[in-house]
C-alpha cells in the first residue's frame, strides 16, 4: 500500500516537473512543425479566415513554375558544401596548432572564438560596410596596395556575391569548429602519441595514424553540426543582401520566409520550408541513430 502510494506520487511529481518544459516545447516548437506541413497543402494569405486545401498544388508550383526555388536550392547546396569544407578544415588546423603548448594560446583561442558570439545580424551589418565598393575595408586595402583594379562591388556583383557572403560566414563560424576539435583533441590519449614518437613516427605519421582516427567521432559531429547550421543560414542573408542581386544569394530558408511573410503566400512558403525540412531530416535522423548507438557502446 505504501509502495503504491509512493509510486503514484512519484509519477505525479514527475509530471509537475515535466509539464512546463514539455508543454511550451510541444505547443511552440512541435505544433508549428506540424502546421508547416499542413500549410504546405493549403492556400492561405495569412489573414483570411479560411485556409483552403489545394493538395499538391503548392509543390507543383515551386517545382515547375518557380525559377527562384531552383536557384535557392542550388545556392543552398553550394553553401552547404562550402560550409562543410572550409570552416571545419580551418577550425581543425587552428585546433591542432592551439593544442600545442604555445605562448599566449588562451588569448589566441579567445580571439578566434570571439566572432561566434557576435550577433549574426551584426556580422552581416559589419561585413556589408567592409564590402562597401567605395570606402569599405577591402576596396581600401586593395587600393593602398596599388591593386585597385581588383576591387569589385563585392555584394553587388551577382557572380561573386554568394562567395563574398560566405567569407563573412567563415569568419564567424571557424571558432565553433575549432572549440569542438580542441575538446576532441583533449580526448586523444597522450600515451599513444608518446608511444608512437618513441617508435620513431614522424609528426605527420602521428597525426595520420594516431590523432586522426581518435578524432573521427568529433569529425562526424562537427560535419553534421556544420551542415545543419549552414541549412539554417538566414540572418546573414537577410542582413547582407536580402537574397539579391537578382536572387544570386537567395537560399531556401530566406525564400520560404520571403514567400510567406513578404508575399503573403503561406502555402508556397511552407512548401519551400518542407523541402528544407526534409533535407535536414535526411541528415539528422541517421545522425541521431549513430550517436544513440555510440552512447550505448560507451555504456
Amino acid at each position: 500500500m505504501f509502495k503504491l502510494n509512493l509510486f503514484q506520487s512519484a509519477r505525479s511529481q514527475a509530471l509537475i516537473l515535466l509539464i512546463p518544459a514539455f508543454g511550451v516545447y510541444t505547443l511552440f516548437a512541435i505544433w508549428p512543425l506540424i502546421d508547416v506541413v499542413i500549410l504546405s497543402f493549403q492556400e492561405w494569405n495569412g489573414i483570411s479566415a479560411d485556409r483552403k486545401w489545394v493538395g499538391w498544388e503548392n509543390y507543383n508550383y515551386i517545382f515547375n513554375n518557380d525559377p527562384v526555388f531552383w536557384v535557392s536550392l542550388k545556392n543552398t547546396v553550394i553553401w552547404t558544401i562550402l560550409s562543410i569544407v572550409f570552416p571545419p578544415l580551418v577550425g581543425l588546423l587552428l585546433a591542432i596548432g592551439l593544442n600545442q603548448k604555445l605562448f599566449g594560446r588562451a588569448s589566441l583561442r579567445a580571439i578566434y572564438y570571439l566572432p561566434v558570439i557576435i550577433a549574426p545580424i551584426a556580422v552581416a551589418t559589419m561585413w556589408r560596410w567592409m564590402y562597401d565598393p567605395f570606402f569599405g575595408l577591402f576596396t581600401q586595402i586593395l587600393t593602398d596596395m596599388g591593386l585597385g583594379f581588383l576591387a569589385r562591388d563585392w555584394l553587388g556583383d551577382r557572380n561573386i556575391a554568394l562567395y563574398s557572403m560566405f567569407v563573412a560566414y567563415v569568419w564567424q563560424h571557424v571558432g565553433f569548429s575549432m572549440v569542438l576539435f580542441l575538446a576532441g583533441l583533449q580526448g586523444v590519449q597522450s600515451t599513444l602519441i608518446d608511444a608512437a614518437r618513441i617508435d620513431g613516427a614522424s609528426r605527420f605519421e602521428i597525426f595520420r595514424y594516431v590523432t586522426l582516427p581518435a578524432l573521427s567521432p568529433t569529425i562526424t559531429i562537427v560535419l553534421v553540426l556544420s551542415t545543419i547550421s549552414s541549412l539554417r543560414a538566414f540572418d546573414i542573408v537577410y542582413g547582407m543582401t536580402g537574397g539579391g542581386p537578382a536572387q544570386s544569394t537567395q537560399m531556401l530558408a530566406m525564400w520560404a520566409f520571403t514567400q510567406s511573410m513578404q508575399i503573403f503566400d503561406f502555402g508556397r512558403g511552407s512548401a519551400v520550408s518542407v523541402v528544407l525540412l526534409v533535407i535536414t531530416l535526411a541528415i539528422v535522423i541517421p545522425y541521431m541513430r549513430w550517436s544513440q548507438a555510440r552512447e550505448e557502446a560507451v555504456k
Partner: protein, 290 residues
Amino acid sequence: MTIVDAQTAPFSSLPKRRDPVLIGLWISLVIVAIIWLAPIVFITFTAMKSNPEVLNSAAFAPPEKIVWENFTKAWVKGNFNETFVNSTVITFIKVPLGLLISAMAAYALAQIQMGWNKFLLIFVLFGAMIPFQVMLAPLFTLVNSLSLIDTYPGVILPYLAFGVPYQVFILHGFFKAIPKELTEAALIDGASHVTIFRRIFLPVSLPVLAALLILDFVATWNEFAMALVLLQDKHMWTLPLGLMSFQGQFSDNYGQLNAAIVMTVLPATIVYLIFQRYFVSGLTSGAVKG
C-alpha cells in the same frame, strides 16, 4: 641561461631548445589571429571617426580625435532606449526561466523512472536539430492566433520552446551521472522529488547551469529571425531589429552606423570576455564527450 630562455622563449614548456616547427606554427597562428581581429578593429575605429575622416583616412589609422557624438547620436536615432530595454527584459526573463524548466524536466527524465523516459528524451532532442527558420510562418500564425504579436510573452514563449531541447539534453546527461542511490536514500528519508531537485541537484549542477546560462544569454540577446516575425511594432523591437533598421536608414553615416554596431555587440562581448571559460565547457559538454 635557462632562466632567461624560459622567460623570453615563446614556449615556456620547452626551455632547452626551441623547436623551429613550433616557432613557425606560433607565428602563423598569430598572423591568422591578427586577420581575425582586423574587422573588429576596423569597425571600432570607424565608430570613433567623423564622416570626413572615414572617407579620407586609412582603414586602420586610429581616429585622430575620438568622436563620441557618434555613439550618442546613434543611440538616439536608432531608438536604442527602447530596443535596449526590450532586449534586456526579454533576455532577463527568458534565460533564467528557461533554465529552470529545462532543469526540472531533465531531473524527472534522469531520476524518475516512468517507462517512457527514453521516448521523451528523443522527442525533445529532435527539437535541437530542427531549424526553427523553417517554421517562421506557422510560428507567426500561432502567436497571432493567441493575440500575442508585439508582446513580451509572444516572443519569450517561442524562445523558451527552442531553448528547451539543448538544455534538457545537456542537463539530462549531467543528472544521469549522479547515482540513483542518493535520490533513493533521500526519498526514504521522506523528501519529495521537488525537494531533492531543489536542495541536492540544483546546487551540485551550478557549474553546468552557469555555462548554459551564459550560452543562452548570448543566443537570446542575438536572436533575430523569430523577433523579426513576431515583433512588428517598432516600439517592441529588440537590439538586432533596431540595428537592421538603422542600417537601412542611415547607412551613409559611417561613423554612426559603426557606433550602432559596437553598441549592439558590446554587451555579449563583455559577457563573453568575463565568462570565457564557461562557453567552452557549455559547448563541448554537449557535443563532444570524453
